[in-house]
């Protein structure tokens, strides 16, 4: 009972101080590029260059036209940047905030929000580049595009439960942190981002059974095909439900022990 109250309080305090989370996230991003002329626009510039090279190299390997493939790649890669950062940075956030955990009585939820906001701020810089590319390749949108708004809300919620579930566990077992980084790098290739799935082939099967595919589809499908992928929404919705329950349970059990682990 006491543990539940403690974990709940932690999150109430965290959400009440969400502005601090934003400010700390802003500082993190600014810190990385201070004293450079382009500053944080390096994130945007890097993404533009990456897409340029990748579109050039990989478009010949696909049946799609250069413009269509560039759009597909841009959206997929931008989303992957966000997903990867939510998982990897989110899991590491308590270990990274070790000094804080050990000498301040702030709620741990702040450090989780900080990591999630940092991922979204970084994504906003990437999104600038993505919008430039999509406009340049003359992408046309339908009203289905509005469904990306709830999709990003779901990304935000996912970022929070994934961090709440994994960050304490990664503080206890550091190997999981490195396993996750490696795992995400492998998943990048197992997810249809630089390749397109053809139904009935091995790649089609990999894409279908890979949950990350469905996280991409809820944004990519409405933008490219103008349709809302109901099957993908059901899958990510179910994963979120199970994830939130698992995270609530695990956070309640681990909350008081984190200070002994970090």
């Amino acid at each position: 009972m006491n543990q539940i109250a403690c974990a709940t309080n932690d999150w109430i305090e965290g959400f009440r101080n969400w502005k601090l989370g934003v400010q700390l996230a802003l500082e993190d991003i600014r810190d990385r590029y201070r004293r450079s002329v382009l500053g944080i626009l390096w994130v945007t510039a890097t993404f533009l260059l990456f897409i340029g090279i990748k579109a050039f190299v990989f478009s010949s390997m696909n049946a799609m036209s250069m413009a269509a493939f560039t759009q597909y790649l841009t959206i997929g890669f931008a989303l992957w940047t966000l997903i990867n950062m939510l998982v990897v940075d989110g899991s590491a956030t308590l270990v990274r905030s070790r000094q804080w955990v050990l000498s301040s009585s702030l709620s741990y939820a702040i450090y989780i929000l900080q990591a999630v906001f940092r991922s979204f701020l970084n994504f906003m810089l990437v999104a600038i580049a993505a919008i430039i590319i999509l406009a340049f390749t003359k992408m046309s949108l339908t009203s289905a595009a509005f469904s990306i708004i709830p999709a990003f809300v779901l990304y935000f919620v996912t970022g929070i439960w994934v961090s709440a579930l994994l960050a304490p566990i990664c503080a206890r077992f550091r190997d999981i942190l490195y396993a996750l980084q490696t795992g995400m790098r492998i998943m990048f290739f197992a997810t249809p981002i630089i390749w397109t799935p053809t139904p009935g082939t091995t790649r089609g099967l990999i894409a279908l059974w890979n949950p990350f595919t469905h996280y991409l589809e809820i944004v990519r499908d409405p933008l490219i095909h103008g349709t809302v992928p109901v099957q993908s929404w059901i899958i990510v919705g179910s994963i979120s439900l199970v994830g939130i329950i698992a995270a609530s349970f695990s956070y309640t059990v681990t909350r008081d022990r984190v200070a002994f682990w970090v």
Binding site: K19, R30, D31, Q99, S103, S104, A259, F260
Partner: protein
């Protein structure tokens, strides 16, 4: 009304060295290493109890590793004790780590805002504290320079100024007086005394008997995480 109660508090850390042959082992420093439920632990605090009410000023003394800082962390709610409990009434502030949250690349001024937000203050509250911090640190134009250009002493000044700019009901202070130049040490001691007067309850850990006798009316001595002595101190000015 502020109140701070420690009720039979014991704290154990996981022990990661080679397993013990005997039931307990005691070194000259640090907590006792003991076996509990078949596993080895460092017992950092053992059966610590005291009650503090409005106006109480407690000094914690003891040799290195006797549990002073750990006890402050338990009081601050950072470590949750496996046995016993802590009861607090009032807003708890801690200055356990003065350099926490400083950003190397940000200016001194920006750092004041970040630290203020960490302490739960609004932008406006912080605005009103800036002049006082400016005067106390004597940093002048350096306040708008990046933090990494500061010397150790300048960092100390800013850290102390910020930590002591916010008001709390219960204040927990770890030993940090003694750095900086002589003139600043006097200022720091004055600031501590002023702050101690303004908060309802003070818990101060220090190796310096003078600082304890100047600021405290009660002294608890810790040994291997246990209270070995609990006495009144005659305030000396």
């Amino acid at each position: 009304m502020a109140r701070l109660i420690a009720d039979r508090v014991s704290l154990y850390f996981p022990y990661t060295g080679k397993p013990l042959d005997s039931q307990t082992a005691i070194a000259k420093v640090g907590g006792a290493i003991i076996k509990r439920n078949g596993r080895t632990y460092v017992r950092a605090l053992h059966n610590v109890s005291f009650e503090l009410n409005n106006g109480d000023r407690l000094g914690l003394v003891g040799h290195n590793g006797s549990g002073k800082s750990t006890l402050l962390k338990v009081l601050a709610g950072i470590y949750k004790p496996q046995e016993g409990r802590i009861i607090t009434e009032g807003k708890v502030g801690n200055a356990l780590n003065l350099s926490l949250g400083f950003r190397n690349e940000a200016t001194g001024r920006r750092n004041i805002y970040i630290k203020g937000m960490i302490a739960g203050l609004s932008h406006k509250d912080i605005d009103s504290l800036i002049p006082d911090i400016e005067v106390f640190t004597e940093l002048g134009p350096y306040l708008d320079q990046p933090f990494h250009t500061y010397s150790q002493g300048m960092r100390m000044r800013l850290g102390l100024a910020i930590a002591t700019a916010f008001r709390y009901d219960i204040l927990l202070l770890d030993e940090w007086i003694g750095a900086g130049d002589a003139a600043f040490r006097v200022k720091a001691a004055e600031r501590t005394a002023e702050l101690a007067e303004q908060s309802s309850i003070l818990v101060l850990a220090s190796h310096n008997p003078k600082i304890i006798s100047r600021n405290c009316d009660r002294k608890i001595t810790l040994e291997y995480g246990e209270i070995s002595d609990d006495e009144q101190v005659d305030p000396e000015s």
